[in-house]
Symmetry: D2
Subunit: 162 residues, 4 copies
């Protein structure tokens, strides 16, 4: 039976301490809801922290990898999907997630949000970057949600899934 | 922790009765081994039969869909990945499976085998099509395996995974 | 011998009159420089206008189409590349263009800019949308250029190519 | 105005002397017909030889590259398209060519033919590999053509394009 997938996207090497904390909490809360966690799968930053959080709550984790790499995967990824498509793999992340949560900001995260907006997928922004919020909220008022905490992000996800 | 993924590829609408029987048995045996079943995800032919077999044994099923379709997915797919890449999505199937089992023959199945051969992934041929066996075995003697039954396919998979 | 390719990206059906005028002029100026014009290839909006401008100056036009469609291509596309990858095809546009000019704004244009920024490709913004300029310039100060006219966009392109 | 594109696919480093001779002649004849030559774009084997042949007759050459590489492109490629999709880029080659000519045989060439067959695109086999001819001709009797020389391949291409 089809399971609900929630994507958590955010910076890798450039994640802030606050991003990592939010990502871990998001992963844990997603697992508690029995949703599957989808990330970019690498062993860095928001991806890795979210996966650790999900596994701390016995969740199931799905990693969509950019290449065919076997050596830079988060240890906490249960199911690894190798795309060998580079940045274009982010489109698969967005299409396969029922809801996307963007945790932090950077070039890759901006790309994920832009892909979600283009595909009319719901995307939740959890960051303190005013310019990204102003831009994406104007671009897609109905599909972009602004929140201030991991708990709010999960509450918004529940409301979207209803 | 990384789970083992075994892909079962084969015809959709043009699957034969024998293909469907083999696919169901493959799905069931894969689930019994606690491997994840990966298919093309559509509600037709070998894909659907393999998923039904896996669910009959309480397995976990992963479907890699060619489009962003929500309406032609096998009911037995637990985790749906939407690629929106058409035939190019088959490359993801091949890269993400530890072992690929080609059950039956047709244009799509031939393509999956060709992708596996090109990516140096192990691929097991379970069909009675002499031309495909001769061609692919010559093209890649080390990565192409020929078997006569679902049980043999699983035994060969185990040997490859060792 | 390798030719220089300049990509012009912008809204399709939702292009403004100003976008269309800029796109036509960009196409014409690109052709006069003997550069190849790359667009998304459809017979709508900025893509179509840029192609018409390029052909008015005897340029060569390259269209990277999202699907395998044969019936919605701009008549002014000389060379059609069919990707069948949907929104992911925009990554090819960005990687294949020496410089990208974003003419106007919308979900698809925002995506193209985000892909360029992620790939560290130079991208020139020609629009009157303050939020997009603030967001992308902050995200990538070195690779994002802001201009006010088609003529400035071409002058900036020349400076980048030096 | 839309130009006709003919794809020439074949081995890179493993091309035989006969493959290279055929590829050069194919490139030259394609250019003489004013068709655009499409190849995989790398500076090796059949790709490189076909491009050299096309440029010897003042043709226009299009290379669809697997990565974002700038350093392994055939010097004779006029227009380089960077896909960063690995083997999946071969699907673009096949969809964008009006006719595909497979010159020689190997894992990559087998993949191109399999993609053409799956997409119902016409594909001409110019090789002395009996197994590939038997397999693909059986798989797709109407879209697979067998020829013995570059001149026959071009005559068959003309007949298909009519």
């Amino acid at each position: 039976m089809r399971k609900i997938i929630v994507g958590v996207m955010g910076p890798g090497e450039k994640a802030t301490a606050s991003d990592l904390q939010n990502a871990y909490q998001l992963g844990s809360l997603i697992a508690q809801e029995k949703w599957i966690l989808l990330t970019g799968g690498r062993n860095a930053g928001v991806m890795d922290a979210a996966n650790k959080g999900a596994k701390s709550a016995n969740g199931l984790t799905l990693g969509i990898l950019p290449r065919n790499e076997q050596d830079s995967i988060s240890d906490e990824v249960d199911i690894a999907i190798f795309t060998d498509m580079g940045n274009a793999r982010n489109n698969i992340n967005v299409l396969s997630s029922n809801v996307i949560i963007a945790c932090g900001m950077g070039a890759g995260t901006g790309l994920e949000i832009a892909l979600a907006v283009k595909a009319n997928q719901p995307v939740i922004l959890l960051n303190d970057d005013a310019e990204s919020k102003a831009f994406f909220k104007k671009l897609s008022p109905d599909n972009v949600y602004l929140v201030d905490s991991a708990i709010d992000a999960i509450a918004t996800t529940k409301a979207i899934l209803k």
